[in-house]
């Protein structure tokens, strides 16, 4: 059980960071925690595919990103037919998060939400999570030039939405 306990301990330690990534991808806190939960479930089921010694964080981020992209795609299809898109203003309407979601977090989530998916994931991984261009290009199987150009577009749009001065 030794290695399995290590896996779970390491995963537990990474939970705060995984949640942060989930929040930067998702429309609201409830979706973010569902994504985090689905990621843990998938990770526990597929733990045999993780190579001990390689970076567990990159492996988990990749799982989360793939689950999120599947969800986002399916939702895009569904909502075209069935329901109006929920906007990021829904952030904070969940009573569980109104306590702790700061205004800044709501603003940041709303702005991230308006980015196209392919820019949002790269902005989140590089500007928020602190991965390097090369790491992200490997994680997402994208050429580094694609990572770089999407990052430029995403952060430029964000600057317009959020402003660049300290008082916003």
């Amino acid at each position: 059980m030794g290695s399995s306990e290590t896996f779970e301990n390491e995963l537990t330690q990474l939970l705060p960071r995984l949640r942060r990534f989930a929040f930067s991808l998702s429309r609201n806190g409830a979706d973010a925690d569902d994504l985090a939960q689905a990621t843990i479930e998938r990770a526990l089921r597929s733990r045999g595919q993780w190579e001990p010694g390689s970076r567990l964080d990159s492996w988990l981020y990749r799982i989360m990103r793939n689950l999120w992209i599947d969800t986002a795609r399916a939702r895009g299809r569904k909502e075209k037919h069935e329901a109006p898109e929920e906007e990021a203003q829904f952030v904070g309407e969940d009573p569980r998060e109104s306590m702790d979601a700061s205004l800044e977090l709501k603003r940041a989530m709303a702005a991230m939400n308006r980015l196209p998916d392919e820019q949002r994931e790269i902005v989140a991984l590089i500007l928020v999570e602190g991965f390097g261009y090369r790491e992200v290009s490997e994680m997402l199987d994208l050429p580094i030039g694609t990572v770089s150009s999407r990052l430029v577009r995403g952060r430029t749009a964000l600057l317009e939405m959020l402003g660049g001065s300290a008082d916003g």
């Binding site: 939970l15 925690d33 689905a38 702790d100 603003r107 150009s149 952060r155």
Partner: protein
């Protein structure tokens, strides 16, 4: 003149020392670029600060519990909090759940018309598990799932004292409770398909199934040891 992507690569510390020095000098000499660098640094810092608040929050219990390995197969606590958070669910998830309810009759009807292999049979006016489903309910431990056929989820004792088990396969999920020598079907829901599967998985099972469990359970679900002991006692 600094190319845009190179400017940002410099800002992110992605350039070699030589290149970085060249861009740095060009930026220092250009008030426009200096301002842009300051704005982008500030914006990125604000973003890190905003999402940093999430990292600093305590991790919700339902996520931590998944890694504690307490032997429970699905999280009922989660199903309960999930139900309370129902209003926060996207509209279409609720719509999908409703559609699944409406599909029960269709599914049950088609299976009941089937032959020997039908997993559900009428007996004395009740629906009971048969064939592979009966076998799974009687012999499968959730801690040792079969590779094919129905998978067992939760096992628990209901408020009438009967042992109940949730099951799931590709076509359907449901709840069966021990009555006499039979597994009587209490609930049946159309199986997970496509997108809805992610949401079901995220809540530890079909939300409606979890609600059916929640409505009938006495106490907590069995852990792996209790489940094994119950099987050895013949599910009494």
């Amino acid at each position: 003149m600094v190319e845009e992507e190179k400017f940002f690569a410099w800002l992110d510390g992605e350039l070699s020392p030589d290149e970085a020095a060249r861009v740095e000098a060009a930026v220092a000499a250009d008030p426009e670029l200096s301002k842009m660098a300051a704005e982008h640094r500030s914006m990125a810092a604000g973003l890190r600060g905003a999402f940093g608040a999430v990292e600093a929050q305590p991790v919700p219990e339902r996520l931590q519990a998944m890694l504690k390995g307490d032997g429970k197969v699905a999280s009922l606590t989660d199903a309960r909090s999930r139900r309370q958070a129902r209003l926060a669910q996207p509209f279409w998830v609720q719509a999908a759940a409703l559609a699944a309810t409406l599909a029960i009759g269709v599914f049950a009807g088609s299976q009941l018309g089937g032959g020997q292999g039908s997993p559900i049979h009428p007996r004395d006016g009740k629906l009971v598990a048969a064939a592979g489903l009966e076998q799974a309910l009687s012999t499968q431990l959730a801690s040792a799932p079969a590779n094919t056929g129905p998978r067992i989820g939760l096992t628990y004792r209901d408020t009438s004292g009967a042992i109940c088990r949730t099951f799931e396969d590709r076509a359907a999920s449901g709840l069966a409770c021990r009555e006499g020598g039979d597994w009587r079907i209490r609930s049946l829901f159309q199986g997970a398909e496509g997108q809805a599967a992610d949401y079901r998985m995220a809540s530890g099972g079909d939300p409606q199934l979890m609600e059916a469990v929640d409505a009938s359970i006495d106490g907590e679900p069995f852990d792996a040891a209790q489940e094994k002991a119950a099987m050895e006692r013949g599910w009494r």
